[in-house]
């Protein structure tokens, strides 16, 4: 398997080099680049990887993830992530895709939670982590479906409101909350477009395109990574993987993004 993945990485590298050449020649380099990336997304390769991991018997308990319940019943994946985050009675928590995945990998497969968390966000240029591939595969099973997060349980209401509060909560030496960069249309950090998340269209783009292939890292990244990385740039301490803070923000965004048609992997710079 590592050889296959090495081969894939080599092909990717060749493709990216070709894009680089194309970019240099174009009058509208960014536009051309974006178009090419959207048409030919290397992240697709991770879907198959995730599928294999999902059905393989793995972990100390030698079990697959087929009995994992993402809210639609054990093993029912079609449309499941369109409704996440949601409240799960067995854990008595509101969970997003990745925290739910953790629950299953620990309970069904017997993996050690800390071990998974340690590896969840892979190093750039690596083969990616199991969680990244699994999150992409599971989300891809909702491709073409509309985001449909509901707030019915009291804890879902609490999560949504906490997420809203956190989206606007300024702290640290940059005085940033999320809204400082994501509260207006057509803004950029240097050349990087910032999504306008206090706008329906913008927030719909966010909720329907993660996990995404991140060109600069040569790996698939998840929503947990996206949030972690924002806090890093904000100079704040490290956001814990699958923490309530991350789930609250995801609940806040996903609920507002309802109606967006899921299309993963997305493609990011």
């Amino acid at each position: 398997m590592p050889t296959t993945r090495g081969g894939i990485a080599a092909i990717l590298f060749a493709c990216l080099a070709a894009w680089g050449a194309a970019l240099a020649q174009s009058d509208d380099p960014l536009g051309v680049g974006r178009k090419m990336l959207a048409e030919d997304n290397p992240g697709e390769l991770w879907i198959e990887q995730g599928k294999t991991l999902f059905y393989q018997k793995r972990g100390p308990k030698n079990a697959s993830l087929e009995q994992c319940d993402f809210g639609m019943g054990p093993g029912k994946l079609d449309g499941a992530t369109a409704r996440l985050p949601r409240y799960f009675p067995d854990t008595d928590r509101v969970q997003d895709l990745e925290s739910r995945l953790l629950t299953c990998m620990v309970q069904l497969q017997g993996f050690n939670r800390d071990d998974i968390v340690k590896r969840a966000i892979s190093p750039g240029g690596s083969n990616g982590s199991d969680v990244e591939a699994l999150a992409l595969y599971i989300t891809s099973r909702s491709n073409g479906m509309k985001m449909n997060v509901s707030l019915s349980h009291q804890k879902e209401h609490e999560m949504f409101k906490a997420g809203e509060y956190l989206f606007f909560r300024r702290s640290g030496q940059t005085d940033f909350a999320c809204v400082q960069c994501h509260g207006e249309a057509n803004k950029r950090i240097r050349l990087q477009d910032l999504i306008h998340m206090t706008d329906k269209k913008g927030v719909q783009e966010v909720v329907s395109t993660w996990p995404a292939y991140r060109g600069a890292h040569f790996v698939v990244r998840t929503m947990q990574w996206r949030l972690y990385d924002c806090f890093w740039q904000m100079r704040l301490p490290e956001l814990k993987y699958a923490s309530d803070t991350s789930i609250a923000l995801t609940t806040y965004l996903h609920y507002q993004g309802n109606g967006a048609v899921i299309k993963v992997p997305g493609f990011k710079r």
Binding site: S152, D175, E184, E238, A248
Partner: protein, 212 residues
């Protein structure tokens, strides 16, 4: 069988009642819930770094949710706190070296925390390029903040302008309470000396910012 059925129906209706009753918590409860999350959900190589998550009074005031507006009293308080925060360099000289300022303006690194490590550099970058247009023709610049191209050409480089510029970089909220601009000096992201270099970068006629 019939009994079990009845039991489930009752449980079901109870669940429905609960679902029907679920509501948004009030703001005070939300604040408590979310602040508890913040206090538990982050890690840092040294405990003191976790203090970055704690809001000061101004940050609390400036975290308005949605379209909520600052009241006049709140704006006045933020300005007052900002004015009180401003410290000047020991030398008293507010205009430093524009070349050092140019470098700082294009430096976005320093003080980030990743993989259990603090990015401790000789000095923190000034972050300007992330959000502001700088010298004419520079492409790799952001637009979250206003353009600074020709800043000195438009304003001159009098002492009054130098002081205003210094104070606006040191603590932008002294003039624009709760604006998106970080209070770079007041939060200790930059030192007073670094701020003087950025002032020079903005005002010096030789600086690329002021070239046509």
């Amino acid at each position: 069988m019939g009994k079990a059925c009845l039991k489930w129906t009752m449980l079901g209706s109870l669940a429905l009642v609960f679902a029907g009753c679920a509501t948004y918590p009030d703001p005070a409860t939300t604040r408590q819930t979310a602040e508890k999350m913040v206090s538990e959900d982050f890690s840092a190589p040294e405990p003191t770094l976790l203090k970055r998550l704690v809001q000061d009074k101004s940050q609390q005031i400036c975290s308005k949710i949605g379209d909520a507006k600052l009241t006049q009293e709140e704006a006045a308080e933020v300005v007052k706190l900002a004015r009180a925060s401003i410290q000047y360099p020991a030398s008293g000289k507010l205009v430093g070296d524009w070349k050092a300022g140019d470098k700082l303006a294009h430096d976005g690194a320093g003080d980030r925390i990743q993989g259990g490590r603090l990015e401790k550099l000789k000095e923190n970058g000034g972050l300007c390029q992330n959000c502001h247009a700088l010298a004419p023709g520079e492409i790799n610049v952001g637009n979250v903040g206003p353009s600074l191209t020709g800043y000195g050409l438009q304003r001159g480089n009098s002492e009054a302008i130098a002081k205003l510029t210094y104070e606006r970089i040191y603590n932008a909220w002294a003039y624009s309470p709760c604006s998106n601009m970080p209070r770079l000096g007041a939060t200790r992201h930059l030192t007073p000396e670094q701020v003087t270099h950025m002032v020079a970068y903005l005002l010096d006629p030789q600086s690329p910012i002021n070239k046509r």
